[in-house]
């Protein structure tokens, strides 16, 4: 079974630049999550999609972060403009449609460095 695919694996940008991350969840998984993991901390949920609708984006800094999941499959997360404190690993995860977070499948993440 193919896992959650993310790209790019690494990204280095300067502050105030924009950046986008891409995620392809496991086929058939209705729920998709974007997490931010700052060094030394646990992952923090940024946004959760159920199919192509947003379920929870309460911790997404909406002045600079945006995310979409067109057609309920792939998703992109964008930061514009980036700040130094956005340096982190951005994890995408997906779970089957039965809910209850029975098991989240994580991608390898995109490591973002903002200089």
């Amino acid at each position: 079974e193919a896992g959650v695919a993310q790209s790019p694996r690494y990204k280095i940008i300067e502050k105030r630049q924009s950046v986008a991350f891409w995620c392809n969840p496991i086929s058939g998984h209705a729920t998709l999550y974007w997490y931010q993991q700052i060094l030394g901390q646990g992952p923090k949920l940024l946004i959760q999609f159920q199919n192509n609708g947003v379920v929870d984006d309460s911790q997404l800094p909406k002045d600079r972060f945006s995310a979409e999941r067109l057609k309920g499959v792939d998703s992109t997360l964008k930061i514009q403009p980036a700040k130094l404190e956005d340096s982190a690993v951005y994890l995408c995860a997906s779970s089957p449609p039965l809910g209850r977070s029975e098991k989240l499948f994580f991608g390898s993440g995109t490591q973002l460095s903002v200089l």
């Binding site: 896992g3 646990g42 992952p43 949920l45 209850r100 977070s101 029975e102």
Partner: protein, 114 residues
């Protein structure tokens, strides 16, 4: 608001030593509880989970965890660690009323010396 606290940030053990990693959460309602592990260079993966029933749950690779509701705890244990258990361990909580939103602890780095 929900929160998860892991007491140990960095643990160093010798092979064959016993392991216990503490995890406490704050939420008054019914929860699902998880331990995730991230081996060096790999992605996060599920180690074990508790939804209901027997509060002692067993996971992969000889790990187990015990849910103590009165203490809001879900500690991870392994009787005898191996060098291959070197990894970062995350406790996570999901409120039943908040399906899908996992709140993670800050993680514990386990280093097992051969």
């Amino acid at each position: 608001a929900q929160s998860v606290s892991q007491h140990n940030h960095h643990v160093i053990l010798s092979e064959a030593a016993s392991l216990e990693l503490g995890c406490n959460y704050s939420y008054g309602g019914t929860v699902n509880l998880f331990w995730y592990v991230q081996y060096p260079g790999q992605h996060l993966q599920l180690l074990l989970k508790y939804f209901s029933g027997d509060p002692l749950v067993k996971g992969i690779k000889g790990f187990e965890a015990e849910f103590i509701k009165s203490k809001f705890s879900f500690n991870l244990r392994k009787p005898s660690v191996q060098w291959s258990d070197t990894a970062e361990y995350f406790c996570a909580v999901n409120a039943i009323s908040n399906t899908g939103k996992l709140i993670f602890g800050q993680g514990t780095t386990l280093q097992v010396k051969p």
